[in-house]
């Protein structure tokens, strides 16, 4: 059974129709990407899931139950890292647990053993401004992971990084994901990234966004850190084709 399901979801913001009859689902342990052009409405889908935006029409169910604002199903990583500049890294990392009512001490105890894995060891007392872009992104990711929610929503987690750091982070992330197997939804407009990380990819059209393709990626992992195989190339080409030859409003 799917852990997360969107049925006939449409959203209009003011006069702008942003989402048009979106249908998608995510199975437990699955890595699903939502790929779409810039400004399509990808982040809007996450805003619906995190209840930052009310559901206007359609249905969202989580583990079979209708989504309500505070059911604690999702850990959300926003498009920019949204680290609090006034909190040290360790206190940024424990934010989600603190909100859940975990004491500061217990929250730290939970986070500290994970620092090394996320390449943040020795930086827990630093402020976000003292970290490099890649480290901030890893911190934001760790802050998401430690919340222990069933589904992770990652909004372009590597979008703000330079090409080299991005590749390193993707490789690192793939390894992390392979051991942890979080149920993840990734929003991206990077075709390579989607193919490298996903089990399944939904392609959105330009605004108003519809699902114009659903593509399964049957390539064995790890896919990164080795020469890309022909199958990956084929899928990338097909995705690009779909994205380039779509109809819809021009942005």
């Amino acid at each position: 059974m799917s852990l997360l399901q969107l049925q006939n979801v449409s959203v209009a913001l003011g006069e702008t129709r942003v989402l048009d009859d979106i249908n998608l689902h995510v199975v437990e342990g699955e890595f699903v990407s939502i790929l779409g052009p810039s400004g399509a409405g990808k982040s809007t889908i996450f805003r619906l899931l995190t209840a930052a935006l009310p559901l206007q029409s359609g249905q969202i169910t989580c583990a079979g139950e209708p989504l309500c604002a505070r059911n604690g199903s999702f850990a959300f990583m926003p498009q920019r890292d949204a680290l609090m500049p006034w909190r040290r890294i360790i206190d940024n990392l424990t934010l989600g647990l603190e909100v859940q009512g975990v004491t500061r001490k217990a929250a730290r105890a939970q986070v500290l053993p994970l620092l090394a894995d996320f390449g943040l060891e020795g930086f827990e007392q630093h402020y976000p401004a003292q970290l490099s872009g890649g480290m901030r992104q890893r911190a934001a990711l760790l802050r998401t992971v430690v919340q222990g929610r069933p589904v992770q929503l990652l909004d372009e987690p590597f979008g703000a990084l330079d090409a080299l750091t991005r590749t390193q982070m993707q490789t690192w992330f793939e390894a992390r994901w392979q051991t942890a197997r979080w149920t993840s939804v990734l929003v991206t407009h990077d075709v390579r990234e989607a193919v490298a990380l996903s089990d399944r990819i939904y392609v959105l059209s330009r605004r108003p966004a519809r699902v114009i393709a659903e593509i399964t990626v049957p390539i064995p992992r790890p896919r990164l850190g080795r020469p890309p195989c022909a199958a990956a190339h084929a899928i990338e080409a097909r995705l690009l084709e779909t994205l380039l030859h779509q109809t819809g409003e021009t942005p």
Partner: protein, 262 residues
């Protein structure tokens, strides 16, 4: 990649040098002018004479500085409490904010010259009217700063917290309040410079003691040197308060001092 480094002590002092130089040269020009022009000390006393008066009248000045300080501190404490409590109420109730904000703006348009005698008339010659006047003058910059500061919170941080399941109160304490702190300190610095002046003005209008009374009496007995002596004391008082807020700000906003900000 550096640890948060405390600022080197020498640098802060070195940065003060231009200020000290400019103030010193202003006084020097003043002194030289008074000596060369031979102007009567009843018109314009030289800085050296003012300093001499401070030394001569130190007991008087000290005794009258204490009530002024009391009024300033009490008024400021009141204003801080009111500004903060109000800002929280206004932040949680936007409708109330829209209803009340014009009143606060109007409160700032009241000329102190007109309102001070009335407040003294209503509350007598004791501490109360001074405290109220200091509070009236200082609460607005802090209130505005806090309200603006809350509004300047990064919406993405708020969305994130709500996605974590945070309540309105949690969002306020962990996101909105810390975001407002830089703004708050900007308002606090403005307020603190008004505080002593407001206290002295309230005394001037009616009091038993205080720097305002010293100034009033000295003026009435044609002693500009003593007026200026009291002015120097009041300026020093403001400077000390200003430095104290700067110190608190340095501690509270330590995160802004680290590498990468600035």
């Amino acid at each position: 990649m550096q640890r948060p480094v405390p600022r080197r002590p020498g640098r802060g002092l070195a940065r003060g040098i231009p200020a000290v130089l400019s103030v010193a040269s202003a006084f020097l020009i003043w002194e030289v002018y008074v000596r060369l022009s031979g102007i009567s000390p009843l018109m314009l006393p030289a800085p050296s004479r003012v300093v001499h008066q401070i030394v001569l009248n130190r007991a008087l000045l000290w005794d009258n500085m204490v009530p002024t300080m009391k009024a300033t501190f009490a008024g400021f404490a009141l204003s801080l409490t009111v500004a903060f409590s109000l800002s929280v109420v206004l932040d949680f109730m936007p409708r109330v904010r829209r209803a009340l904000f014009p009143i606060f703006v109007v409160s700032q348009t009241l000329p102190l010259v007109a309102i001070a005698p009335l407040v003294v008339l209503w509350f007598g010659f004791d501490l109360t009217p001074k405290v109220l006047l200091v509070a009236l003058v200082t609460f607005f910059p802090m209130l505005v700063a806090l309200v603006d500061g809350y509004a300047a919170t990064d919406p993405e941080i708020e969305d994130l917290m709500r996605a974590m399941g945070a309540s309105r109160g949690q969002v306020f304490c962990s996101a909105r309040l810390p975001s407002a702190m830089p703004y708050f300190f900007a308002g606090l610095r403005i307020s603190i410079t008004y505080a002593v002046v407001a206290a002295i003005f309230a005394e001037y209008v009616g009091a038993r003691a205080g720097l305002g009374i010293v100034i009033l009496n000295a003026k009435n007995s044609f002693r500009p040197d003593l007026v200026l002596a009291a002015v120097v004391i009041s300026s020093l008082l403001t400077l000390v308060l200003f430095a104290a807020t700067a110190l608190v700000q340095r501690i509270v906003l330590r995160w802004r001092d680290v590498e990468g900000h600035r």
